[in-house]
């Protein structure tokens, strides 16, 4: 009987998430707090042409993905630095089982966080005009983004010296959505930041999400978004695999 080590590792990673209150807070509650803050405190200050909650929700969904990454980086690094990886290696647990467990746990956390966020968004009057197909598209993009961010974060976590520095290494990924069209349209930003916001990968991803939730996805945005996600996934995967081989 062959045991499914990937499933066992995933279960382990998921238990970790539920037992680490900080990671639950960062991954699930933080995006909700951010949503309340932006909608109630700053929302009226931005003129975005539509209800701010409708504008901001797709951006906050992306933020929700990023907020979960710190925990992923920390936990993958703990595995490497706290000796348990040697135990796994001697038991012939494959690299893919170890890393896949982290990636899938990361994506599942993203989905739970986004579920919570959307729940609150609806309470605040979020009114998307997406069809079932659009929703599926939106979920698809979220999963693709989760995989891309997950693999990239795991590579960062593997490359870091300690769990603490791994957590810090993921911070830029949490900051990046703020310099995109997630919270405010890029046109409202100052020169320099605006160009950065227009061309960084998160902007087409958010615009694609926004398109799906409006019921009018833009094909160019979608293609660019998918290309970014696939590209980042690939880079993250190769980097993570190489680092794992070198370290473990």
């Amino acid at each position: 009987m062959s045991k499914n080590q990937s499933a066992v590792m995933l279960r382990r990673n998921f238990k970790h998430l539920t037992r680490n209150p900080t990671s639950v807070f960062n991954a699930v509650l933080m995006p909700v707090v951010m949503m309340l803050m932006f909608v109630y405190v700053f929302g009226d200050a931005f003129d975005v042409g539509v209800d701010y909650i409708d504008y901001a929700t797709p951006g906050l969904m992306l933020l929700a993905v990023c907020y979960g990454l710190g925990a992923t980086a920390t936990s993958v690094n703990s595995d490497m630095t706290k000796g348990i990886i040697n135990r796994f290696k001697v038991m012939d647990v494959s690299r893919s089982a170890v890393l896949n467990g982290h990636v899938v746990a990361s994506v599942l956390t993203n989905l739970i966080a986004i579920g919570a966020l959307l729940g609150v968004a609806f309470l605040l009057g979020f009114d998307p005009s997406a069809s079932l197909l659009d929703w599926l598209g939106a979920i698809g993009i979220v999963v693709l983004l989760g995989l891309a961010a997950g693999w990239f974060t795991i590579a960062l976590g593997l490359a870091a010296k300690s769990p603490e520095t791994a957590g810090i290494a993921a911070v830029p990924l949490v900051m990046l959505p703020f310099f995109s069209s997630a919270i405010v349209p890029a046109e409202l930003m100052g020169p320099g930041v605006r160009q950065f916001a227009e061309y960084q990968p998160f902007t087409p991803i958010i615009e694609t999400l926004r398109g799906f939730l409006n019921g009018s996805p833009d094909t160019t945005d979608l293609i660019v978004a998918v290309a970014w996600c696939v590209g980042i996934t690939l880079v993250g995967y190769l980097w993570a695999s190489a680092t794992f081989k070198k370290r473990a």
């Binding site: 045991k3 590792m9 382990r12 706290k82 000796g83 040697n86 135990r87 001697v90 012939d92």
Partner: protein
């Protein structure tokens, strides 16, 4: 079963310019405890890492349970258990969950997983703490859990890298009992330690590792005998007897206060008989006679020219 569980010859390993292992040869007989003794930085952990397939050697041959660690790593891994220097337990999981994780991951385990877990918890006196996260365990409990996790696979060859470092004396003794129990059940143990007493207490054979080389190898008694310093101590009834005896043995040292004479000896029966015969010829009798062998601290100092960190203080 083969008579040697582990065979190592010409093992070398360097990190960059630094030679960590510089030609290690050793053999571990099945069903025995072999102890690699050395101070911090001697290369103990590197040796364990190579022997357990975690690290590739630069050169030399290593066979564990008859399999080459470089070319048949999978076969080796299926037969060994390893407890690393730092307790490799999952701190967020409970003791019971840690063991269950090992059962779930271990392809060699096919029996009743729950029973294996419960038996191990009981054997290591962890049943009471089984549901608590390992992060709350004391150092000793963590080590026990760590070792229990290693034993899930029921491996016949077990590597223990400094299993008692950082433990209090009581936990150390408990660990020793556990190790003895494993050998009694037929396992072979490869144990590293920086505690001379530990090697002396547990090991059938000891190899002394210093800066990547084995400076001595043998049974604890053999090692003690290899070095100068073994002597016979004779206590006499009178100063006259003591002086007479001192004249017989030119290289002896006398202690008039205690009425004792120290005579250098290798501790072997031949030289002891010669010594006693010599006393007899001169009609001298000692009140008390003892062969004094140095402990492992002395061994280390004599073999390497410097004290161990533990022995130095």
């Amino acid at each position: 079963m083969r008579s040697s569980a582990i065979e190592v010859s010409g093992l070398r390993k360097a990190f960059g310019d630094k030679k960590v292992l510089d030609g290690i040869d050793l053999t571990v007989a099945a069903g025995t405890i072999f102890s690699l003794l050395g101070p911090n930085g001697a290369g103990k952990t590197t040796t364990v890492n190579v022997l357990t397939t975690l690290m590739q050697a630069d050169s030399g041959s290593v066979r564990v349970a008859g399999h080459d660690v470089a070319t048949e790593a999978k076969a080796v891994r299926a037969l060994i258990g390893v407890t690393g220097q730092f307790a490799a337990v999952d701190e967020l999981l409970s003791g019971q969950e840690n063991l269950q994780l090992m059962v779930d991951l271990n392809r060699a385990v096919t029996g009743n997983g729950k029973r294996i877990v419960n038996d191990l918890l009981e054997r290591f006196e962890l049943t009471e703490a089984a549901q608590k996260p390992a992060a709350t365990y004391s150092g000793g409990m963590r080590r026990k859990l760590d070792l229990a996790m290693t034993l899930v696979g029921n491996s016949k060859i077990i590597f223990l890298d400094e299993p008692t470092t950082g433990l209090d004396p009581r936990s150390r003794r408990t660990m020793w009992e556990i190790v003895r129990g494993l050998v009694a059940d037929g396992a072979t143990i490869f144990l590293t330690t920086q505690y001379l007493e530990e090697a002396d207490q547990l090991a059938d054979r000891i190899a002394v590792l210093d800066q990547g080389r084995l400076v001595a190898q043998g049974t604890p008694e053999e090692l003690k005998r290899q070095i100068p310093g073994t002597h016979v101590r004779l206590r006499f009834a009178t100063v006259a007897d003591l002086d007479a005896a001192a004249r017989l043995f030119a290289d002896s040292t006398r202690d008039a206060e205690a009425l004792t004479l120290r005579v250098p000896s290798d501790g072997g029966t031949t030289s002891l008989r010669a010594l006693l015969d010599r006393l007899d010829e001169h009609s001298l009798g000692a009140e008390e006679f003892s062969v004094h062998t140095p402990d492992l601290d002395d061994v280390f100092l004599a073999l390497t020219g410097h004290a161990t960190e533990v022995g130095a203080k």
